[in-house]
């Protein structure tokens, strides 16, 4: 449910985590090397800027910080630290097992592992879990508290009155037995996924119930010792960490992981080429790709992402409140050209639908192509596009194409300005700063007609794309936090989504078949022009070994070896 910037942040966080794990053998207490490399050394990473937003782990919603948080903190459950589809599996982390829900999907009971300590030396207790979830509401600015965790009994009241939040009924703990029982107001098939992301990572009792400027102690193999948004983030080994599960939280290789800020992407490439940095968080700029591809191919890793780039039509205002107009633009879009803008066919794959490949509920479907039927996009169909747009009666309408000023995104916007003008509209580009573009598009007051955005999975569930981006409940009028940019709300499709969500509690496989149908139905309504599914480039220095890519956390920083 996050846009690319969030995704990017998550990637950085993963990187940091990998670095931390890779550095995981301090001089004070030498940890054993992981199975994938040698312990020791400093993993030096670079990024243009610090993770945007607050450093607080229960507020920050960026890939850049999440990549670090996953090696400093743990949830009750976690995504397996592995490549490929293995990396999407939930495994027990601080808990001894992944529980089956009871009471119609409304109760989850966990038993904590024994002997786990926070980096400040305090032992993990069941009451820390309750404290963590109450803090999630009490700090008042956690972005998903009111949408993901309000399903916990007492959660809605906590959203209304954060300062007096009390989850005595919703999170029942027993320190002596080490048990934690969550009581939900209704079944939530994705509750376990939501426990595996950093918002729900367990913090020690006593952590201030206000935004903190450096992540508080956690249970992972590393800990934050510096968080200076103008300079760098530094992680060192957590000497209280003892590996309890290689799947959930393996020990790291580097002793220290540093992420320095303030370089341009061009300078980042040069630093990695020269060995001054080991990894760059940002994607290499387009005019350096050919050079990297030619001279440093062995240092580059390209991985497909469960993500989609798209332009959202505003389906409530002219001209795209007209289905034929939306479908016409979809037919006219040359997705190969857009793939070229992103970096070429080896970096992105054209798509017409909402769900990305290799995702629960995905089945290839592309009606907006010449010769449809194979499910794959092959070429634009201009004749059909012009016919549909003529029939829509929207020709001549003014359209503002909204993007941010990042080079690639602006280039995509420019492409659509040209295309829409060719189709008979009067299109102009509105390129806004990346800091404001996404909230600007989300706010219905701004009446954005056609907006660029991208979405990277939070966790592997179809609803993370379909319900969050195109569900009726995700459109919040006049709000900067309304992820349904298209303002799309189709009652029959929403009913299908609700059924799939309900079925997912007991029958995830059957639910995914329902999500397939939802994906198809939404694609037919064309609330977006889906462009392509991107791939991610990791550019590493020659000394980095043991590269691993998780579909959830991307480059696993702590698993890299620099010695």
């Amino acid at each position: 449910m996050r846009s690319r910037s969030l995704f990017s942040l998550l990637v950085v966080a993963c990187l940091a985590a990998l670095v931390l794990t890779a550095c995981g053998g301090s001089s004070k207490k030498k940890s054993s090397a992981t199975s994938s490399g040698n312990a020791g050394g400093t993993l030096m990473t670079v990024a243009k800027g610090a993770p945007s937003g607050s450093p607080d782990p229960q507020i920050n919603y960026t890939l850049q910080e999440w990549q670090l948080l996953v090696i400093t903190h743990d949830g009750l459950v976690g995504f397996k630290r592995a490549s490929g589809t293995e990396g999407t599996k939930l495994v027990p982390d601080l808990a001894t097992s992944v529980p089956k829900p009871t009471d119609g999907g409304k109760t989850y009971t966990f038993t904590l592992r024994k002997g786990i300590k926070f980096s400040d030396g305090k032992e993990l207790k069941a009451s820390d879990v309750k404290y963590t979830f109450e803090r999630l509401f009490k700090i008042g600015s956690s972005p998903n508290a009111g949408t993901w965790y309000n399903v916990i009994v007492g959660g809605d009241a906590c959203v209304k009155s954060p300062k007096t939040c009390n989850l005595n009924q919703g999170v029942v703990v027993d320190d002596a037995k080490g048990t934690v029982t969550f009581h939900l107001t209704k079944g939530d098939p994705e509750f376990l996924d939501k426990l595996a992301v950093p918002f729900a990572f367990i913090l020690p009792t006593g952590t201030p119930n206000k935004e903190v400027q450096i992540p508080p102690p956690g249970t992972g193999p590393y800990k934050f010792v510096e968080y200076n948004p103008n300079k760098e983030i530094k992680l060192v080994r957590n000497t209280n960490f003892k590996e309890w599960s290689k799947d959930a939280q393996p020990n790291g290789n580097p002793d220290v992981i540093i992420q320095k800020f303030g370089l341009s992407a061009e300078a980042e490439v040069t630093q990695v080429e020269n060995g001054q940095a080991d990894w760059m968080f940002d994607n290499p700029p387009s005019d350096r790709l050919s050079e990297i591809s030619t001279k440093h191919a062995d240092q580059v890793h390209v991985n497909p992402l469960t993500a989609v780039w798209y332009f959202a039509f505003n389906v409530r205002i002219p001209p795209f409140n007209n289905l034929k107009a939306r479908q016409g633009v979809n037919f006219a879009t040359d997705r190969n050209a857009l793939v070229k803008i992103y970096g070429g066919p080896n970096l992105a794959v054209p798509t017409c639908q909402i769900l990305p490949p290799n995702f629960p509920g995905y089945k290839p479907y592309c009606p907006y192509t010449k010769n449809p039927g194979s499910g794959k996009w092959t070429a634009p169909d201009m004749a059909k596009a012009k016919q549909l747009i003529a029939a829509s009666g929207t020709k001549g309408a003014s359209v503002k194409v909204n993007t941010d000023t990042v080079e690639t995104d602006k280039a995509l916007g420019l492409y659509f300005v040209g295309l829409l003008n060719q189709l008979g509209y009067k299109a102009t580009l509105q390129a806004l700063s990346p800091d404001i573009q996404y909230p600007y598009c989300q706010n219905s007051k701004n009446q954005v007609q056609f907006c660029w955005s991208s979405w990277y999975q939070d966790y592997p569930a179809a609803s993370d794309f379909l319900n969050i981006l195109l569900g009726c409940g995700s459109f919040i009028p006049n709000s900067n936090a309304s992820p349904n940019i298209a303002e799309f709300c189709n009652k029959p499709i929403q009913a299908q989504m609700d059924q799939a969500l309900q079925q997912g509690i007991t029958d995830p496989t059957g639910a995914n078949t329902k999500w397939q149908a939802v994906d198809k139905a939404v694609t037919d309504q064309a609330p977006w022009v889906s462009l392509f599914n991107p791939k991610y480039i990791d550019f590493l220095s020659t000394r980095v070994k043991g590269y691993q890519f998780s579909p959830q956390w991307y480059f696993l920083l702590a698993q890299a070896s620099v010695k």
């Binding site: 005019d287 040359d334 050209a337 803008i341 000023t405 492409y415 300005v417 509105q430 390129a431």
Partner: protein, 351 residues
């Protein structure tokens, strides 16, 4: 009734240039003669005229020479060179084949300076960009001069509260850092959902009038100040007092007596102002708050080229060279005009 004041009117009796005969020449004729003798200024004028002519011939170049639409993307397009068809955007090489690089300068009629990352002809865009930059530069300089002249004449002539109020407003505008003021205005205008509406005037965010108005307005105080000072001084001159004594109206005094005497200052300032406004327009467009895509200006093309500096530097270098040549020509021409119109230079001619 205008009073004949040889000094004030700038008419001089030039014996040297007429072989000993005393002949009255208008100051404009003398200035013209001085300008013609300044070869450097004439060369600068010729260069500026050439740049203007070439820029305004952009449609002819794109239609009949390059055969391209410089505002439409041509990402999937191809071009035939020496009988060989090549993609306009070429896939990166190496083992991984990452990236897409626009075709470089072909030195042929098509893609003479290569393509940008939208597959558009850079040479055609540089010419179109010049047209927009010059239109905005000249337009905003004229606008700023016109507004400044009117306010300076009124403030300087009437003095008192009129002068105090107008001058403080100008001071207020001057007090803002120029680029911050321009950026603030541009940001507001460009993000307004329905553009700018003032009465019956409606400007869309993409209109060239938006940067023209913004730049024109922020430079008003820079011209107002020197002209007002001159008007204040002229107001006390004998020929103006004589006009008052003879019952001439204020309007007549301002337009017949004062205005002709400040016109040369405006003319001297004009090329320098155009150079300055072209630079400002380029800076704002480079920051994405001037000319809006798909329109092009030299600033927007430099911005496009910034992301291609490693592989296709000509995309940024070509408009950069055009800006340098234009500003250089205008500055040299401005110096020449100042030499030609500066009253002190009369002494030299007389001597």
């Amino acid at each position: 009734m205008a009073v004949f004041e040889p000094e004030a009117e700038g008419i001089v009796f030039d014996a040297e240039e007429t072989g000993g005969d005393i002949v009255g020449r208008s100051p404009w004729a003398l200035a013209g003669r001085r300008l013609v003798r300044n070869k450097l200024a004439l060369a600068a004028l010729a260069l500026f005229v050439l740049i203007v002519a070439v820029s305004f011939a952009a449609p002819l170049y794109s239609n009949y020479v390059a055969d391209t639409d410089p505002f439409a993307s041509n990402i999937s397009g191809t071009v035939t060179l020496n009988g060989k068809t090549e993609p306009v955007l070429q896939q990166g090489g190496g083992k991984l084949g990452l990236g897409e690089t626009p075709i470089g300068p072909t030195w042929h009629s098509k893609y003479f300076l290569g393509a940008d990352n939208q597959g558009r002809d850079v040479a055609a865009r540089v010419l179109y960009g010049g047209r927009a930059s010059l239109e905005i530069g000249i337009g905003s300089a004229l606008l700023a001069s016109a507004i400044a002249l009117v306010f300076a004449l009124v403030a300087g002539f009437f003095g008192g509260w009129t002068d105090a109020i107008i001058s403080r407003v100008m001071d207020l505008i001057w007090a803002f850092p120029l680029y911050l003021l321009a950026i603030s205005l541009a940001t507001v205008l460009l993000t307004a959902p329905n553009g700018l509406k003032i009465g019956f005037i409606h400007l869309s965010a993409g209109s060239l009038w938006v940067p023209l108005l913004i730049i024109g307005l922020v430079y008003v105080p820079y011209i107002y100040r020197p002209i007002r000072g001159q008007v204040l001084s002229l107001r006390e001159k004998e020929f103006v007092e004589a006009g008052i004594a003879q019952g001439a109206s204020n309007f007549r005094l301002i337009f017949n007596e004062v205005l002709p005497n400040v016109a040369s200052t405006v003319i001297v300032l004009m090329p320098l102002m155009i150079a300055t406004t072209i630079l400002t327009e380029s800076a704002l467009s480079y920051l994405s708050i001037g000319v809006q895509p798909p329109q092009a200006s030299w600033g927007t093309i430099i911005e496009d080229g910034q992301s291609l500096l490693y592989t296709r530097p000509w995309v940024a270098i070509a408009p950069g060279i055009m800006i340098v040549l234009t500003v250089l020509a205008l500055n040299v021409l401005g110096d020449g005009l100042r030499d030609a119109l500066d009253p002190r230079s009369k002494v030299r001619v007389k001597g």
